[in-house]
């Protein structure tokens, strides 16, 4: 067991280092002069001497005047100190500060939508697999949902509930007339703004999970051990219980796999609803060629997905004895 986790941690560590390195390389690969960009943003001075002074000044601030290897060393050094540099786009705000402002909104959007869609989806899928007619009536909904592009669902919801019916706001995280404070007015307003983006994330995820679970359950109910239980007169309850439990396992891995998609989904959803999360930040950073902000966002996502993957791996192993052996390459 310890050996297994040791290896796991090693794998993820390695993954992180490589991913981070690639992350570091990204901006350096990009054509286009970041300093010219930041100067254009901050307000360029036109006479050569002053311009040069400014160039040197900002090049230095961003540490781009160092040899590559040293930039790389610094990158790791500051990374370990939680310092991701200064945002160009939001000069002179540190990237970490910018990220920390966005993170809460992401967690607020992602955690509930992922967990709930996973939970509800699985329940629903298992429910659908119960009888033929349920299956034929319920499953199609799942397929339609999971096949819907995030942003399109977002657009539809925004259009229908935001514009046609006018029930929900379709932009921002809280009303224009409010300043963040602890009161039911504010909390209600936040939830009000949160609902539609959450729904579009939730629904798509829900569909996917439901379908996945439905198919899994069908498999499991047809598995030999299910038949054996039935042959020994075990009530449907027990058979289903086992089938559900075993169908869960692939669903857990499925969850890990879906994370990447959900993040992408969150990005577009946040774009549609201009909800101020990381995905949104990332898009802004990309469009503004803000190297350090881009790096920050990627690192954040990488770490997030890695951690999530690891947690899921652990859960999986705890629940399923088979993986342990499969992983260590042993065969029964």
């Amino acid at each position: 067991m310890r050996r297994y986790f040791g290896r796991k941690i090693l794998i993820y560590g390695l993954t992180f280092i490589l991913a981070a390195t690639i992350d570091w390389m990204i901006p350096r690969f990009m054509p286009g002069d970041p300093i010219a960009n930041v100067m254009a943003r901050i307000g360029a001075v036109v006479n050569p001497a002053a311009a040069q002074a400014m160039r040197d000044y900002y090049t230095h601030i961003f540490g781009l005047d160092l040899p590559m290897w040293q930039q790389y060393v610094n990158f790791w050094n500051s990374l370990l100190h939680g310092d991701l540099g200064i945002s160009i786009y939001l000069f002179p705000t540190p990237v970490t500060t910018v990220l920390m402002r966005a993170v809460p909104y992401d967690l607020f959007l992602l955690i509930p939508s992922i967990l709930l869609s996973w939970y509800a989806g699985n329940k629903f899928g298992a429910f659908a697999a119960r009888s033929k007619w349920l299956d034929n009536t319920v499953s199609p909904i799942g397929y339609i949902l999971t096949a819907t592009p995030y942003m399109w669902l977002g657009i539809l919801l925004a259009w229908l509930f935001g514009i046609v019916l006018g029930w929900f706001p379709i932009a921002g995280a809280y009303g224009f007339n409010l300043r963040p404070h602890l009161s039911w007015t504010f909390i209600w307003d936040v939830l009000h703004h949160w609902f539609l983006p959450f729904m579009s994330l939730f629904l798509v995820g829900f569909g996917g999970q439901a379908i996945g679970m439905r198919n899994m359950i069908i498999y499991e109910l047809e598995a030999d051990y299910s038949h054996y239980l039935e042959a020994l007169g075990a009530p449907r309850r027990l058979v289903r219980k086992y089938a559900f439990r075993n169908a869960m396992l692939p669903q857990i891995t499925g969850l890990a796999l879906s994370l990447g998609v959900v993040v992408a989904g969150a990005l577009v959803t946040e774009v549609v609803f201009s909800y101020p999360g990381i995905g949104y930040l990332l898009l802004a950073a990309i469009q503004n060629q803000d190297y350090f902000l881009i790096q920050g966002c990627f690192l954040f996502i990488i770490i997030g997905v890695l951690v999530a993957n690891f947690i899921i791996d652990v859960t999986y192993v705890i629940i399923d004895p088979r993986t342990r052996r499969g992983m260590t390459g042993e065969t029964a």
Partner: protein
């Protein structure tokens, strides 16, 4: 069940995080980015003379951290509608700095300049007059001396008096600090003396009168007692949270998508100009203009300065009000110019450039790309507010307008013929060419515009195709001069035509052209004409006109760039909460805008004139 529980827990935890979250997240704003750059230029199209001393940058640079901007003792947390005005269209990213010397970034805290920090003078584009603000008066006592008398009883928001010493200090900040945008001033400003609390004397050597006025209403005056202790770095790039200024509004708070300003009840100007109507200004940054459009329709926004496609329909339907009741609905804010890279063939040929000018279907751009929200530009490129400087004779002789037939014939005359039968003309030397007209990807109105430019040029037999790189790539190509032809509109409202021509004919040519003459048009004669104009006293309008006529003649003969249309001063407002907006019918209309750098161009007066709905 376990999961559901954890979920709810997570919800609550995160909710609290959100509540305490210090705020904003940047957003991409494609169309307003351009507006921003415009804004930037309004404050940075400043001089071109070279400084004597170059600054040296300290080895270790401390960059201040933006602290959470929620004040210690929050004021109201739910803003009453009837004393709050909601505006949008200026910011393109969350607030990151309140340093009045970082004009570009200030677009995100529009108001830092104009609300918090003020200027000696203001400028009203509607009348073309430079009017006193902090200054009571100012005049050239002789060719090289300019006297300023400050008003009495000016105060900073921290209660300290604003005196001539502060003004002197501000101007002298850039004397030894080349990284400040206004350092070039010191190439002809020789000294500032403060006779007493209110009397200032500026002495010059060979002054650029035209530019001096720009400084008068664009250089924000900062308090000496707070800034003299700042290091060069802090002055140049410090974030300067909780700014202390002299203006009509105080910085209140900010959110990821907004800045909030609260009225300065002790503002010295209340006695002079009157009290701004809204107690609180909530400046919303919309992720994209269509979101703003929705807010405007719902009446959530009182004044939107976003570019809203289809607003013409809405205005006609009465959803929103615009400056003009009918096309073009908007005042003109700046000129969209097609820069031709004169270092490349065949753009190096004036005949070709002129033919191209006739080939471009500007009417379609106005009607299709903008649905009539803009109007075609005068060939001189000057805004309507400066139309008095258009030289009728020159226009009659050299003006151009969309005329495919004429374009074809001009090309033929210049030796551009289709020799290889590909429907496109080849250069006189027989070489075929394929050109690209570019604008940043996502700037949809411009994308539509360059599509039209390309197709109409093709109709005239010129092989041009529209290409839309990402902003960064576009910007690099623009400043590095690697493009074929591209759109730009970085010159805007000014008291003098010199501002535009200074941009179009920026010189000397450098390997990075950061704010003008992107086509690298190199013509000493024209440069001299522009420099000559710069030295004409702003009082001498006849002299200015004469100088402009020469420039316009040279420009239209050589056609190094092609002015196409005026981008609008996008402004749509609702009268649900506030009335008395400036329109064409107003007796003395000011500018209905919140763009950064426009407060002193009438924006603030607009707020002062507003009336709340009872």
């Amino acid at each position: 069940m376990k999961r559901v529980l954890s979920t709810t827990v997570a919800l609550l935890v995160v909710l609290t995080m959100v509540l305490t979250a210090c705020g904003p997240t940047p957003t991409p704003e494609k169309i307003t980015v351009r507006e921003t750059v415009t804004v930037k230029e309004t404050v940075t199209v400043k001089e071109t003379v070279t400084v004597k001393e170059t600054v040296t940058v300290k080895e270790t640079v401390q960059v201040p951290v933006v602290v959470t901007a929620v004040p210690e003792k929050p004021t109201e947390v739910v803003y009453p509608r009837n004393e709050t005005i909601y505006v949008s269209g200026a910011a393109w990213g969350p607030a990151s700095t309140w340093n009045p010397f970082q004009p570009g970034s200030l677009a995100n805290t529009t108001g830092t300049i104009g609300f918090v920090y003020e200027f000696l003078f203001a400028f009203d584009p509607q009348t073309g007059k430079v009017t006193p603000w902090l200054a009571e008066s100012g005049k050239w006592t002789n060719a090289t001396t300019y006297d300023v008398i400050l008003r009495k009883g000016l105060t900073w928001s921290d209660g300290k008096p604003l005196t001539a010493a502060d003004v002197k200090f501000t101007f002298e900040l850039s004397q030894k600090n080349a990284a400040l945008w206004f350092s070039p001033l010191w190439t002809y400003l020789t000294g500032v003396t403060a006779a007493d609390e209110t009397h200032l004397t500026f002495t010059f050597k060979d002054p650029l009168y035209q530019e001096w006025d720009n400084y008068l209403y664009n250089l924000p005056i900062v308090p000496k007692h707070l800034w003299e202790s700042k290091t060069a770095e802090e002055t140049n790039s410090g974030a300067n949270e909780k700014p202390v200024g002299s203006g009509a509004y105080l910085y209140d708070t900010r959110g990821e998508d907004r800045n909030v300003w609260v009225r300065n009840e002790n503002w010295w100007g209340i006695a002079v100009f009157g009290k701004p109507a809204p107690k609180r200004i909530v400046d919303i940054r919309f992720s994209s203009n269509n979101v703003a459009l929705g807010a405007v329709i719902k009446g959530d926004i009182d004044l939107s300065n976003n570019f809203l496609p289809g607003v013409a329909t809405l205005a006609k339907a009465g959803y929103v009000k615009t400056y003009f009741a009918d096309a073009p609905f908007m005042l003109s804010a700046n000129t969209a110019v097609l820069f031709l890279n004169t270092t490349k063939k065949p753009m190096d040929d004036a005949k070709f450039r002129r033919a191209l000018a006739f080939a471009i279907d500007v009417p379609s751009i106005v009607n299709i790309a903008y649905a009539q929200l803009v109007k075609a530009a005068s060939p001189t490129g000057l805004l309507p507010s400066l139309s008095r400087f258009d030289d009728a004779a020159v226009l009659a002789k050299l003006g151009y307008s969309f005329d495919t037939a004429k374009a074809k014939q001009m090309l033929a005359a210049a030796g551009y013929k289709d020799t290889n039968g590909d429907k496109f003309v080849e250069a006189p030397d027989g070489s075929a060419f394929a050109l690209e007209v570019t604008c940043p990807f996502g700037w949809s109105d411009w994308m539509a515009a360059i599509d039209i430019i390309a197709s109409s040029a093709q109709a005239a037999g010129i092989n041009i195709k529209a290409v839309t790189p990402d902003y960064g790539a576009w910007n690099t190509a623009l400043q590095g001069g690697t493009f074929d032809m591209t759109l730009n509109n970085w010159a805007s409202m000014s008291n003098t035509p010199w501002t535009l021509y200074n941009l179009l004919f920026r010189h000397p040519i450098q390997e990075q052209m950061q704010s003008g003459n992107f086509g690298r048009y190199n013509n000493k004669a024209v440069f001299d004409l522009v420099d000559a104009l710069a030295k004409v006293p702003t009082t001498d309008e006849a002299g200015m006109k004469a100088a402009c006529a020469k420039i316009q003649e040279a420009m239209l003969t050589d056609m190094p760039m092609i002015p196409l249309w005026y981008n609008g001063l996008w402004a749509q407002f609702s009268e649900s909460a506030w009335t008395n907006w400036p329109t064409e019918k107003s007796t003395s209309p000011t500018l209905p805008t919140t763009w950064s750098g426009y407060w002193q161009l009438g924006g603030l007066m607009t707020l002062i004139n507003l009336k709340p709905v009872q």
